[in-house]
Subunit: 544 residues, 2 copies
């Protein structure tokens, strides 16, 4: 027996329709690539998205075609997404921080037909365009006045291109399981692999993110997505923002502490989201200048582990609550959010921070398990760690064109490549990347735990831990540190600070100080490169 | 091109699985029908639901079969729902406030196979069982110690019946569009009509209700659903409660002011939901006793229009925020929730109350329009009123067995039978009712049934019934009569004649005699004009 409810497919156009109808006058404010602050509304974004869709159809874009974007967070970038998906096509966000080789690889792999490109990236793409044969036309996200001289194929200023449409267009009808967007992840071995979001998964994921224990987005919020649209849908904010009717503030390309602070204050932002590196810049800026936050209530931190000290600073110095989130491109991306459940009872300051430093609980729509290497489930005791596997309504089932083969286990779970513990109340904590875990005397040591502890030292700007081969223990941890400007902590300072805060056998065997630590395009520490760099390094007691 | 995301059908068992895994120790507290307060947890409810499902399968219940419940809000009632849907069957909630005729009609129309029945209703069902041939067995929601002597077919105490299962059962795999639940509405003309919810619609609707601008349910909340499970899924709380991980408090059968107050305080409830009549009782109780509310933050009021004075009392006397909601059985039921959007700017006390007294805005997942009789859309200016029509992810497409015929317009919108204005920011206000029914204390009275009865009196030429607003019941019926020429029946004559022929609570509160009743061109009584005409009329006991 079937239910007798309306057939209302979860299509992305419904999100912007809803925003335009119910929250039409709500502002979307952008620090434009050209410089000035630009203001528009959800109603206007919907109108322009209709024009984008109409104009794409006229360019010959058909349902299922991939249309790429290489752009910062701006209202224009946002409206291209709604236009692309509204035309039945598939937005493919290219991460500008990828190497040129990778950009060429993924654009060809996706067979992108058109590229919307920000002014910032025109020069790069000019260099690459001969190797991007599937792209027939490059649309520069600017107006005629700012259009550069360029030899890009069919180059046109976005505003001119858009002006050729009148918006008299109907969203293309699709099944909700149709592809809506693509994002390549380089977080796996081998070539970047394409994750293909559906309309359904994006809409469900946004509904999940809006809820009180996730991002808690309300019509009275003002949200600043610093995490880029090219980074897994800006953690859903491209959809959950308009869905909730919150005002949006798009930061463009300026993500330094002063610029971010300025927007937070001038637009009276209440919720914002970014990776720890961005917050580090903001906190340092505020510390130096003595500035305070007058409107911010809630900061979402994820993408890599959020240091305990950062949570402490936001919550206890600035009165801003922190939601530490974990996820991945393959998960749309949100997988868990720190939440203080009543089960924990009243927690003292330190215990609360410890809990918030965990990656948190799976919201409805995400299922988790931890397993040993033979896929046996491990207990949720907060101590046992194992491979973290997930299943859910917005989790990838495969990569584009089947790259990487079968990625789900027999029960349909996807192996995240992370290693984690889960406590009895469901709070998950990443202890390592499966490939970064340090194995000492047959036991696992979490490099991330050590890193988080080390950055809590007042003189430490950034820390990385890698395993160094050891004759007796197989591997032992080496702690690599960038000191804060003007500080010069010693090995002993750092080790003393750590003493007693982790198991004795987890204590790094050595500490080295460096000027720089290599990062991936998405801001993660490149452990592989670090391991290469320290390939010849010998631990002090390695003779033992 | 298809998305490449996991196939994760929106099935109801996922809700209780999530609650058990992530919020397993969270309490569900019931004022039991037997008397004492009973405490259980989501983990336990899931275990017992598995047993219910296993036990149902053993009774021969197959996917799609209807299993009825005639019960108050209790943990047992809740677990039967998860058991029924987990077995692939369809819960059918029977409203005990229906007349016996109607109960017989709907149980037969639905072809219910089993009935879970509360102690309170055993006597009624004993009387009716011979006319309920499809029901093979009656399961009394109690334990052996409280099991009454009863001649109900196959009668068994629920706890005994459940003890025969060990819970070693897997939820039945279904498509998400499969039927999950049924609720008959008598808010239409003619016989009650069955709305058939799907797994998908119930899950999506719950996700919608959890969000900050709807019910705002968090893991740290404690929710008291006073609105019954038999009243359109307890406004989703049967699903959105466990989905959010909130503690739940089930009030059983005692809904008077003192009993509700006691639970609010003893369980430290933060969110609660009921029709205005229930809140009137609570407010009167608190006023009389001088009691205050120590934990309640948010009260959901709907089912009939929430009086402005009630909002004022909750917000300004007791510091509890009010969400005035509108919906209907056909909408799962939530259609709109009052929300103070930033568009309105700063509002003074009176303007704020006016706005909150509106039925509010459609959340994502509900679309609205107002139209004239020719289905032309009318402007959203806050003044023009028209027929309110809706479309959405949890709105009925038809009634069970096609009763009532085609119920959607050419664009797929369902006519709610309500008449409303919508302001430029999307806030909807019900101004009238096009459907010919009266809502008293949250339950329907058919004006046509009363009219038909009244014209049976030998002195009556024509009769019309309209709802007159009433401080306690929201609306009560007024009977308007044109006497036959030369006859002059009295109020008492008419009421005496009707006595015993309809339910007591359907009896008109007053009878007035007139010379003429306005008609439309096609000869129908113009109720809207009558309501205007009697706009200043006050019912005799309305001071109560
Ligand atoms: N907040 C409200 N204000 C006015 N009428 C309401 C409200 N909520 C529900 N109703 C009425 O109740 C009907 C739905 O009844 P039911 O299907 O029994 O829930 C709606 O169509 C309205 O006529």
């Amino acid at each position: 027996m079937q239910g007798m409810m309306q057939d209302w497919p979860l299509l992305i156009h419904r999100v912007i329709d809803h925003a335009a109808i119910q929250h039409g006058a709500r502002e979307v404010v952008t620090r434009s690539i050209e410089g000035p602050i630009h203001r528009t509304t959800y109603a206007e974004i919907r109108n322009r998205a209709l024009k984008v869709a109409q104009r794409l159809a006229r360019e010959g874009i058909r349902p299922g075609d991939r249309v790429a974007t290489l752009a910062w967070n701006t209202a224009r970038h946002l409206e291209t997404w709604y236009g692309i998906t509204g035309a039945g096509a598939v937005y493919h966000t290219i991460n500008p921080r990828l190497f040129e080789e990778q950009i060429v690889y993924i654009a060809n792999h996706a067979e992108d037909k058109l590229l919307f490109v920000d002014l910032t990236f025109v020069a790069t793409i000019e260099k690459l365009q001969d190797r991007l044969p599937t792209i027939t036309r490059f649309i520069v996200l600017t107006d005629a006045a700012h259009m550069p001289q360029t030899r890009l194929r069919g180059a046109v200023a976005y505003e001119d291109w858009l002006a050729e449409a009148d918006g008299d267009f109907s969203w293309v009808a699709l099944e909700e399981t149709a592809a809506a967007g693509m994002c390549y992840t380089s977080g796996t071995t081998g070539n970047p692999k394409g994750v293909v979001y559906s309309h359904r998964s994006n809409v469900l994921h946004a509904m999940m993110c809006v809820t009180p224990d996730a991002f808690n987005l309300s019509v009275n919020d003002c949200v600043l997505p610093i995490v880029p649209l090219f980074h897994a849908n800006s953690w859903s904010l491209a959809f959950s923002g308009p869905m909730s009717g919150a005002k949006m503030v798009m930061p463009g390309m300026k993500l330094d502490g002063a610029s971010v602070y300025e927007l937070l204050e001038s637009e009276q932002v209440t919720v914002t989201a970014a990776v720890p590196t961005v917050w580090l810049m903001l906190l340092q800026h505020m510390e130096k200048t003595g500035l305070r936050l007058s409107s911010l209530k809630h900061v979402l931190i994820g993408g890599s582990a959020c240091p305990r000290a950062m949570i402490d600073a936001f919550e206890n110095q600035y009165g801003v609550s922190v939601a530490h989130a974990w996820g991945m491109t393959e998960m749309s991306p949100v997988g868990s959010i720190s939440s203080i459940k009543p089960d924990y009872g009243a927690l003292a300051h330190d215990a609360l921070l410890d809990l918030k430093a965990k990656q948190g609980s799976a919201p409805f729509g995400v299922e988790m398990k931890i397993t040993d290497d033979a896929d046996n489930p491990l207990p949720w005791d907060g101590k046992t760690f194992g491979r973290l596997k997930v299943r859910g309504m917005a989790v990838a089932s495969a990569y584009f064109r089947g790259e990487g083969g079968e990625i789900l286990d027999a029960d349909g779970f996807f192996d995240t490549g992370d290693v984690a513990t889960i406590d009895p109340y469901g709070a998950m904590q990443i202890t390592d990347r499966a490939k970064d875990v340090i194995k000492s005397g047959g036991e696992w040591i979490s490099s991330i735990d050590i890193e988080n502890l080390a950055v809590g030292h007042p003189d430490v700007a950034e820390a990385a831990v890698i395993g160094i081969s050891h004759p007796k223990w197989d591997e032992r941890p080496l702690l690599i540190i960038i000191p804060k400007e003007g500080r010069s902590p010693t090995r002993a300072d750092i080790l003393d600070f750590m003493q007693g805060k982790i198991a004795k056998w987890w204590m790094p065997d050595d500490v080295v100080f460096v000027d720089a630590i290599p990062h991936t395009a998405t801001g993660k520490i490149q452990k592989m490169q670090l391991r290469e760099q320290f390939g010849a390094y010998r631990l002090p007691d390695a003779a033992a």
